[in-house]
Amino acid sequence: MMMFSEIAVHPAVLFLGAAIGLACVRSGPVQRVLLLGTPVAALVAAIRLPDRFGTMHYLGMDMLFGRADALSVLFLYSFIVMAALGALYSLQVRSRIRHAAAFAYAAGCTGVVLAGDFLSLFVFWELMAFASVFLIWGGSARSAAAGFRYILVHAAGALVLLAGIVLRVYTGGSLAFEQLGAGGMSTADILILTGFLLNAAVPPLHAWVADAYPEASPGGVIFLCAFTTKTAVYVLARGFAGLEILAPLGAAMALIGVGYAVIENDARRILAYHIISQVGYMVCAIGIGTDLAVNGACAHAFSNILNKGLLFMGVGAVVLQTGRGRLHQLGALARAMPRTLVLTMIGALAISGLPLTGGFVSKSIVITALEQAHRPGLELMLMLASIGTFFSVGIKLPLFIWFGSVKADTCANQAAGDPPWNMLLAMTLTAALSLAAGMFPGLLQALLPHQEICRIYSPAHVSHTLQLLAATALGLYIIRGFLAPKPGILLDVDWLYRRGASLVMRLCAGPLNRMNERVNGLYQRAGVGPAQKASGALTLFDRSGIDGFIDGLAMAALVLGESLRVIQTGKIQHYIGGAVIFFFLLLIIVMLR
């Protein structure tokens, strides 16, 4: 028995409807109306959402499709805004599947952040995974393989999550998605946490980000960088705020991500590793778990969605216009793509935490929360990650894309220009939002889930941030000769299922195959030969013995029947004669005894 207690327009329904429309409609103008109109409609619907809606009683379980509290709403707005900006950026793309997948992906994300129970959360979680893979598949063999690896990793994560949910319900736990592990972590809680950590790209479950995101289309990666990991941050903040292990894990994550970003050569892979690093800040703050720390995690998610989106837009524009993405192949594009340079630099400086940007506001909240929680070790780790951020994204990335010398093989880049108007407009709006979040921190703080706030532009914070950034720049100036990017890729945990799987295949094709052949030969000699001889003997016995006995019996019955048929003449005198003979024979036998 299903019963909806009340009706409200769920933003996911709008995105799903638009996704179906985009998959069917061929007309360009209609496509554009759907692409630009749907996020606006979804934002209006999100603003008008009641606190709770879409309750359903199904198979004895209470499901809640809509819980629009302060924590959900911040992420909901962020995702809808990024869906709008991503759609604007991708406006010139003609692939119906890509557009449909992007909006189905947005539907999944909005569904997850509004889900009030594990069952609906899982449904939208899976929608996210299966829709997003279509943004990675781009026609090349490399992107197809990356997409398959991506979906396999996420399917494994989803199975773990589902196992956790089922175990939780089976052991009498509630289906409601609330804070978990309050009275100690059960096995179900650990499984659910593992499923969430995989989507948050927490090491060692992080390699899928750097493997798959660089293979996505320039438009598709805008959605990817904003949605999956940030949805995971939301579910961690909802379900595991204050879980101690997350704090050091997040700090380590921030350093590992930025460490890879520092030495990576592929521009989009640098940004992908950087996602891991920035999500590390959020996971660390969630692990601290105080109201201010959770506010910091949410604020950093909001600003990072904008900043990372802006960076991917800028680098995507470069890839689109030059056809190149490796730093050693790029350089001296400042004159060819000046607007892209300015807008991307805003994103780079914002993510580095420069004052007057959104990144500064959110990092300040996280750092203040760590100071108040008396965690100097974690604070130093995150500050070191900040140095790496400015190193890799604030200086290295722009230096080798837009500046540097014009090398022989980069001459072709000079023919490139700024991208189409819609891409520039999307970048401009994203940069404006990031700057607005930095210049008017009260606007961002008003959206945060908890009341507790801190002073953002304190002299100490501004001074320390400027010192850190200037010292990093000075350090890089000193060692500038070592910065030159070199071609090559970096090994990561994905080696285990890329090379590792190949090794397993070789093991199967080589030693295991030979062992199989030997066992087969032994079986032929020791098993099949004697079995065939035994079979022949049994056949002979069957034919000569059993068949002979059965046939003989049948033949005897036939002869006896024929004899009886002959005896039965139908004449009474013959029967009386026979009876008399039989009587005398019987009499003789009796007398002889």
Partner: protein, 82 residues
């Protein structure tokens, strides 16, 4: 040719000078704001974040360079297995 060299050198001098000025300004701000709100302990030492930034940057670059030697492979490393 000479002009180009001078400009290049001038730019090179100007950049670290500006960065050092920012660092000095930060240290002065730390000293002046020592009695006000801010972090405690070692983090409150004036100029701590300048030293940490410089040392952290050099250390990060060195460690990452070493790690890169271990982890770097040719571009086509995975091509046979995709």
């Amino acid at each position: 040719m000479n002009e180009t060299v001078t400009t290049s050198k001038g730019r090179h001098v100007w950049l670290p000078a500006a960065l050092i000025l920012i660092l000095l300004a930060g240290v002065v701000a730390d000293i002046l704001g020592a009695d006000h709100e801010g972090p405690a302990g070692v983090f409150a030492i004036p100029g701590f974040w300048s030293v940490f930034g410089l040392a952290g940057c050099l250390m990060l670059a060195g460690v990452c360079k070493l790690v890169a030697r271990l982890l770097k492979r040719p571009e086509n490393y995975y091509d046979d297995v995709l």
